[in-house]
Symmetry: C2
DNA sequence: CTTTTTGCAAATCGTTTGCATGGAC
DNA sequence: GTCCATGCAAACGATTTGCAAAAAG
């Protein structure tokens, strides 16, 4: 195991992630952080996003289209993913403990709390035709 | 719009999908169907899997690691994905209508029925250390 | 001075696509 | 004969990796 060293790039990535509500892709993070560090590479962005996710300082969200999304909000909450536009939206529900209980009656694995992902159509995609 | 024509390859893919309970990846379908059609190409497998999904005769399941999974069982049911081994398992819960109702109180998109995905650790990965 | 992190480019993985040929109708 | 489906190989997009140079400690 290696000791973590400070890096200004990682700090900038973390800061952007915490200030953004849009669950950015790695490329969106790259575009934004490049304003402060014009020479930063996409590889460095990926390395740091994965590192932050491993450290529990960010959440990596798998989506069906257009790449994974990242979330700097680590307090437990649910996510919804629009299958039309691909956007990810926070769902501020109370914890769905009864769902896990119901699942465990029929299933002997362990369901991770707040892990479940909802899919459907977001309000923007409903309105814009 | 084009008219669908019969193909023995597509029929074989559909048959394998219906007989399998393991939510195979495109590559697993390829390996299996190749026993009957040694010259079938991976591109054809992908084209047919996507076609079947579009026709509603199969379900395409996005997973965090190792590629998408496909399911020939089209009757509504939930899925669990093990974040350790990547396997997808059917969850035979009653429909979680109260979850959708709870979500709709805080959210004005449309959550697709039976769309949600649960994540965690499957029993195999718990037992095998 | 040692170890971690970076930038860069090449590699990898899953998936899609263009095109000429073969099969369905 | 007309389209649709196939096999093949090349292209693609997202992500990871190897490596020498730069930064942190």
């Amino acid at each position: 195991m290696s000791t973590l060293k400070y890096s200004r790039q990682r700090e900038s990535i973390k800061e952007y992630l915490n200030s953004s509500c849009e669950h950015p892709t790695a490329d969106m993070v790259y575009m934004s952080v490049r304003q402060e560090f014009p020479n930063i590479s996409l590889g460095t962005v990926y390395r740091n996003l994965n590192l932050l996710a491993d450290l529990g300082e960010a959440i990596k969200i798998t989506t069906p289209n257009g790449g994974d999304r990242f979330d700097g909000r680590t307090a437990p909450h649910y996510h919804f993913c629009c299958t039309k536009c691909g956007n990810v939206i926070d769902l501020d529900l109370k914890e769905l403990t009864h769902v896990n209980e119901a699942a465990n009656e029929h299933f002997d694995g362990i369901i991770e709390s707040h892990s479940m992902m909802f899919y459907g159509t977001c309000s923007d995609c409903i309105n814009n035709q």
